[in-house]
Structure formats: C-alpha cells, structure tokens
C-alpha cells in the first residue's frame, strides 16, 4: 500500500498527519518518468482481409514507455492489430485498413509514410526466434549496417550496448564470432530483441515472444521486458494471461476483432468492467 500523508501544523504546534490512500502499484512496476503520453493512437481503425473485417473499429491510446499486453482467444485479431503497427500486414495480399492509426501523431498508413523508417522505429520480435544464419555480431550489426553505419568501432559499440540491454552480453561476449544458431532458444530470442534494439527503436512489438521457450528462458524474457520498460513503448501479444498480468501496465482484451476492454492491468485482472472480459480471463468462456 502506498501511503502519503498531508502534514499540517495545528494551533498547538503539533503536526497532525492525515493519511490518504494512493493508487496501489505492485512494487516491481514503478511509475515511469517522461512516459504516459499517447504514442500509438487508433481511431475507428479497422483491418480487412479482403471483405473480412479482422479488426473492427478499434479506438485506443497506447501510452509511451509503458507495457501494454494484448490478450484474447485465437483469431480475435490481436496479432493482426499488433502487426499493423509496423505495417507487417502490407505483405498479406488484399489486406487493407480504414480509420486512423497514428504513431507519434503521424499516420502509419499515410501516403508518404516511409515503411523502412517506420520499422526502424517500431521493432518487432516474433513467436519463434529467427536469428540470421550469421555470427552473433553480424546479427546485431545487420540493421545498423543496413541503415548506413559502417565504422567498425561504432558497430562494435552498438553490438555491445544492444546485447547488454537484452541481458545477453555476459553470456556471449567471448563468442561474438560464433554462429547465432548455436545459441539456446531463450538466448536466440534475446538475440532477436538485441537485434531489434540495435536500430534504436521507440516501440517494441512482441508477438507471443515466449511461447516457444521453457520457463527459465521465459522468465529471462519477462525480466528483460521489465528492464526495457521505461525506455521503450512495449506491446506484447500473449496467450499466457499470467504473463500479461506479470509484465504489463495496461491490457487490451480483443474478441472477434473488437477491442472489448482496455484498462490498467491491475484493474482488468482484479475487477474487469466487461462481463466478457471477466468470463475470458476466468476461463468461463463458452
């Protein structure tokens, strides 16, 4: 319980404390300084696969530097929505959108949006670790090189900084020239996070990042999310509701393409406002 106290001087000179109750935040989730402004804004945003409306008129503000989890049953549109934020859906034939989806106030689907620049700022990590069949160093340096960095010292600095941020440096610093495919699954996934961080994104999209990992590797990724929280806006799609409640500040519940509820994670997992959310998270869904 976070308690604050208004201290007042009374006429007798004795200070009287009136205790007031503040909003409870779990100890691991500290308030973020410099965050909390709408970073990604959706307004009446729909995604269609041909005629099928996979995401239906979603309106939401994703706050900067906080972690937002997206939950919902399979086929509810959560991954589709996530992938739309860095336009991964562009690769799917007949996929189109209506409404507005803004990143830093700029229309993601605007006529003049540079997808390459967008994907630099909005990085993505997928369900299955997908390192390139190259050395650990080259995996991390791949993005910066693509964006024109060629100086060896600069690249080495980026590689070290990214691997440190992804909590992988200590495990791989003596074998940077070894093939990344030789790493364990958990290490490979953190490598993918490091590879994303190397191009200095503002947003990290994580699409079920631990579903292929064992509990130990999952814990490392979850710890990593907590470490990165406050520096990046993070969105994570997960089927593991305990994971959503452990790592996120806000949770969005999707059902059949509709954003049913979007609330603070503490609120959504203790006292959801929508009965459909309640039924889903308590396993009463028919």
């Amino acid at each position: 319980m976070v308690m604050t106290a208004d201290v007042k001087e009374t006429s007798s000179g004795v200070s009287a404390q009136k205790a007031t109750r503040d909003i409870y935040l779990p100890p691991a989730r500290k308030k973020i300084t410099g965050g909390g402004t709408p970073h990604i804004v959706a307004r009446e945003f729909s995604i269609y696969y041909s005629e099928f409306e996979a995401v239906k008129k979603v309106s939401a503000d994703i706050l900067s530097k906080y972690v937002t989890a997206i939950i919902g049953p399979s086929g509810c549109g959560k991954s589709t929505f996530l992938r739309s934020i860095n336009r991964m859906n562009d690769l799917i034939p007949n996929c189109h959108t209506t409404g507005a989806l803004l990143f830093d106030g700029q229309d993601i689907y605007g006529k003049y949006t540079d997808e390459v620049l967008l994907r630099k700022k909005v990085g993505m990590v997928f369900q299955k670790p997908n390192p390139f069949p190259k050395s650990i160093f080259d995996n991390i340096a791949y993005g910066p090189r693509l964006h024109g960095v060629s100086d060896k010292k600069t690249l080495a600095d980026i590689v070290e900084r990214s691997l440190r941020k992804a909590a992988l440096w200590d495990e791989v610093c003596d074998r940077l020239d070894k093939n990344a495919l030789g790493l364990s699954g958990g290490q490979q996934q953190r490598l993918c996070v490091a590879r994303t961080l190397a191009v200095e994104p503002e947003v990290l999209l994580l699409d079920e990042p631990t579903s292929a990992l064992d509990p130990k590797a999952t814990a490392k990724i979850e710890d990593l999310i907590q470490e990165l929280r406050g520096s990046y806006t993070i969105m994570i799609v997960t089927h593991n509701m305990q994971q959503a409640s452990r790592v996120s500040d806000y949770t969005m519940f999707f059902y059949e393409g509709v954003l049913v509820e979007h609330a603070s994670t503490a609120q959504l997992f203790t006292n959801p406002k929508d009965s459909m959310t309640e039924d889903y998270i308590t396993g009463r869904f028919s």
């Binding site: 997992f269 006292n271 308590t282």
Partner: protein, 228 residues
C-alpha cells in the same frame, strides 16, 4: 458450458465456509444458552467445538492458499478466494467469542443475566451473521448493505447496557465483578455484530471490487442509499 473443475473447487470452498458459519453460529447460541442455564456440560462441549472450528479454519485457509498458488485466479475468482479467506478469519473470531462468553460463567449469576436482554441482542447479532453469509452465497450487495446498517442497532443495545452497568456500579454494594462480566458479554455480542459487518463489507468487495472499509461517510451514505 459445464462448470470447469477450477470453478467447482471454488464452489466447494464456498460451501465449506458456509458449513463453518453454521457451526460457529450454533456454538455461539449454545454459549448464550449455556451461560443462562449455568450448564457446565454444554460449556465443555462448546470448547471442544471451538477446537474443531479452529482446525476447520486453518484447513480452509490452507486450501485457499493452495488454490491461489496453483490456480492463480483473477477477477471474480480471485475476489471470491480472498473473500473466503477473510470471512474464514471473522468466523474463527466469532467462534472465540462463544468461548469467551462461557469463560465468564463462574463470574455471573443467572439472575443477573435475566435482568439483561442478551437473548434478544444475541439473536439480532446472529441474524446479522446469517444475513452476511446469505449475502456471500447470493452475492447480494443490497443485503450486505442492510447488514452494515444493522450494526448500529447492536451498538445502541451495547451502549444502553454500558450505561445501565455504569449506573449500577455506582451503588456501594454493587457486585462489581459480576457487572464487569455482564458488560463483557454485551461486548462479545457487539463484537460478533462487528464481525458480521466486516463479512458484509467483504461481500461488497466480492461483488463490486471496491474496498469500503475506512471510507469517510460510508455509514451516512449507506443509510441514505437504503432510504432510497
């Protein structure tokens, strides 16, 4: 959709709690009856039952803690388990109050007890516990509010006994020890009503997710809402 095993387990834990409340209430009424009739045999039985209540309380708490650890409930399921743990604690304390009442037996005469309407006060407090448990079973916010409002009636009864005992004590030949024991019994019944109120407030949390303890003006708002 048929009930999932996890929800059957919550229902089972709720039933165990309701059974415990029946046992606690029965023991409390037996205590009031035993002290009125100076029934030593019943008093021994009441102590034995209280030991059973203590064991049942620990067992239920252990099952709830295991449920929290293993099932990691959320939302209504989480609130139900937390509420069961808290009500369980209240019931155990009511069980202790029954024993406290019979502990006063050697200090008080049936004549003194007859001159105070403890039976009526006990029935009122018992009704509050019954209603609070009924509110838990039916997740009934209105009934829980009613229980909270009833607490004032018991407080009035207790204050009236307090005043009368104070007045009697002023008499030079007053049986002070016996009057203190009398006041204690009134206090135990009043405490039981307080526990019923706490149970009702826990039910309000279960239903709404709102913690209404320590809220300024809660009682005034409650009376207003009941009038409406």
């Amino acid at each position: 959709m048929s009930e999932r095993p996890v929800h059957e387990l919550i229902r089972e834990l709720s039933q165990v709690l309701v059974q415990l409340s029946d046992k606690v209430l029965e023991n409390f009424f037996h205590a009031l009856h035993a002290i009125k009739h100076q029934d030593e045999q019943s008093a021994r039985q009441i102590r034995l039952v209280d030991e059973e209540i203590d064991i049942a309380e620990v067992n239920l708490e252990e099952r709830c803690l295991a449920f929290l650890a293993l099932q990691q409930p959320v939302a209504r399921d989480l609130r139900t388990i937390v509420t069961i743990i808290k009500i369980n604690d209240d019931l155990e304390r009511i069980g202790d109050l029954a024993v406290h009442i019979i502990d006063r037996m050697p200090e008080i005469s049936p004549g003194m007890l007859d001159s105070f309407d403890f039976e009526n006060m006990g029935v009122h407090a018992g009704e509050m516990v019954k209603k609070s448990i009924q509110a838990f079973i039916s997740k009934d916010r209105t009934l829980a509010d009613q229980v909270c409002a009833l607490d004032e009636e018991i407080d009035v009864m207790h204050r009236s006994i307090f005043k009368r005992v104070t007045m009697l004590m002023k008499s030079p030949d007053s049986p002070v020890d016996e009057l203190i024991a009398t006041l204690s019994i009134s206090r135990y019944i009043e405490r039981m009503a307080d526990h019923a109120t706490m149970i009702a407030r826990e039910v309000i949390y279960l239903v709404t997710g709102e913690i209404v303890r320590h809220q300024e003006g809660f009682y005034d708002k409650l009376i207003e809402s009941l009038k409406e």
